[in-house]
Amino acid sequence: MDNSASPAAIQKSIWDGRIPLEIVLAPAESRSYDKTDAYLVSYPRVSYLPSLLPKLRAFFSPYLIEPGSRHHYGWFAFEGVPLKWHYPVGLLFDLYAGADPATKSGFGSDVSRETAAPFPWRLTVHFGDWPAEDLVRLDENGMVMNDAFINSVKEADFLRNGTAKGIMTLSKEDSSGLWKAVENVDLPSFQRISHILLPPPSQPFRNVPIRIFLPLPPDEESGSLKVVQSPLSPSVPSSGVQPSQSISPRSSPGMQPQTIGGVLHTLLPNLFPSRRTPVLAKPVLHGAVLPMSAPIEEVVRSSAYGDGWAYVVVRMMG
């Protein structure tokens, strides 16, 4: 797998990645309380939870105490925490499920890890009592979700190019097509449109769209996630000199690719005292531990979510 995997192969396996979900109806909303059948689905990591709502609403309709509830009243919780629907499910899983991330050596050999794996991931769906202090409301036609996605795409585009002109000039078909491609997990269509947005490989990103999610305190009540984001240039001066804002991102003599470990060490020196070795914490993306030496631009080009961002979750070691 390791060095031989091409960016295209990595992207394909990410889009093929699925998480088994077991979704139960909130007992208080069910005629049969907690005896309601669960909805089981193998769900793509790059997808968003609200896309499941029409099917869930139909599946649970015989049980619903409140028959008038609509699919877009639906929201999800894990262990009582309302899940931010604008994050792809793969990120939510990496944040909350407590699964041990895969490493280079794979999961396969470690039986104890298999038994500890939180599969399927058990979520609760509600169709009432919208947690207005935690979640933005959805609408019947999915416009709110589409809007949130496009805003996120725009941000990534702005970072990569220094303007949001790319996404602004995308045709209406392509712009809605991008969201449809993600909704349908249609990688070929996605690639066709994102190809228009992404600078060619010969042209480095201006900044690299990465957000870093800090570990949640164990007693954390709800969605108050701690996220670190800073302008990240794809390259930094060699020889461990402090990166400076005025340095051109173009690869030039004296520059080297900025790595995941370098970014973590710079932004979170307490959690990452070394830029080469994870000591106290490790970076996780798509359920796998990211190599500290991975160049950040390569990580985003191969492994971003559908909105163009790499969402890296920091997990404490041990």
């Binding site: 604008h86 207005a132 933005v136 416009m143 108050s224």
Partner: protein
């Protein structure tokens, strides 16, 4: 916090702001606001506060008390009142300030949603312009994980709507899309003359109008330090 020094330095990357420049700009605006009494602040501003990242957590608790504030009670005794809390936050992506806002009803349970924002908050002349932008228009619900640094509060009676909460708490809030802010700033101002002391006033003039946040005259005339 209280060094009071009005450092009005020029900006290194106008129309963009670095975190330090944003910090200085917020201090300057807070200072300017402090030098005006509430009575002088037309445009309905009821308070402005500077909140730093470290304070933001405690702030969430303090805001609970805010509702018991005597001034608020006087205003809300008889009439339904809409209070709009605006937060100015630096976008780590666009490197410009973003205006978040939350609507709170007092003495009334109003409808909730973007429609209500257009009904009660957005002045008539901006409606079409804002609604024609993007998927859902120029205002979105957003869930920010940003530091909110300046807190402005505006009260209005007999108007109103809805509630989504502070960016810092990770809770829903409305925001005005920031992706055109830098271009707009560059069009109206000359990078040489804009300082940390004036950036936010110009910015508020551009962005605030569309969501009913007007710069009180007193902030830009004699009382405060000269804007230029």
């Amino acid at each position: 916090m209280d060094d009071g020094a009005m450092a009005c330095t020029t900006l290194s990357a106008f129309p963009f702001l670095t975190p330090d420049e944003f910090d200085a700009a917020c201090r300057a605006l807070a200072e300017r606001t402090r030098s005006c009494t509430a009575a002088q602040l037309d445009g309905g501003w009821s308070s402005a506060r500077l909140v730093t990242q470290a304070q933001a957590q405690a702030q969430a608790l303090e805001d609970e008390d805010e509702d018991e504030d005597p001034e608020a009670l006087v205003r809300t005794n008889l009439h339904p009142t809409l209070q709009i809390d605006y937060d100015i936050v630096l976008s780590p992506t666009y490197q410009v300030p973003v205006l978040y806002f939350v609507l709170r009803w007092h003495n009334h349970q109003g409808p909730v949603g973007l429609d209500a924002v257009y009904q009660y908050v957005v002045p008539e002349q901006y409606k079409q312009q804002l609604q024609n932008v993007g998927v859902m228009g120029g205002i979105s619900f957003g869930v920010g994980a940003h530091t909110y640094v300046l807190f402005l509060s505006l009260s209005q009676t007999e108007k109103g709507k809805t509630g989504w909460y502070h960016p810092e708490s990770g809770a829903p809030a409305f925001f005005v899309h920031p992706c055109n802010t830098a271009d707009a700033m560059a069009q109206v101002a000359d990078g040489q003359s804009v300082t940390t002391g004036t950036y936010l006033l110009i910015w508020l003039g551009l962005v605030g109008q569309s969501v009913n946040l007007h710069v009180p005259r007193e902030l830009v005339v004699s009382d405060g330090p000269s804007p230029y």
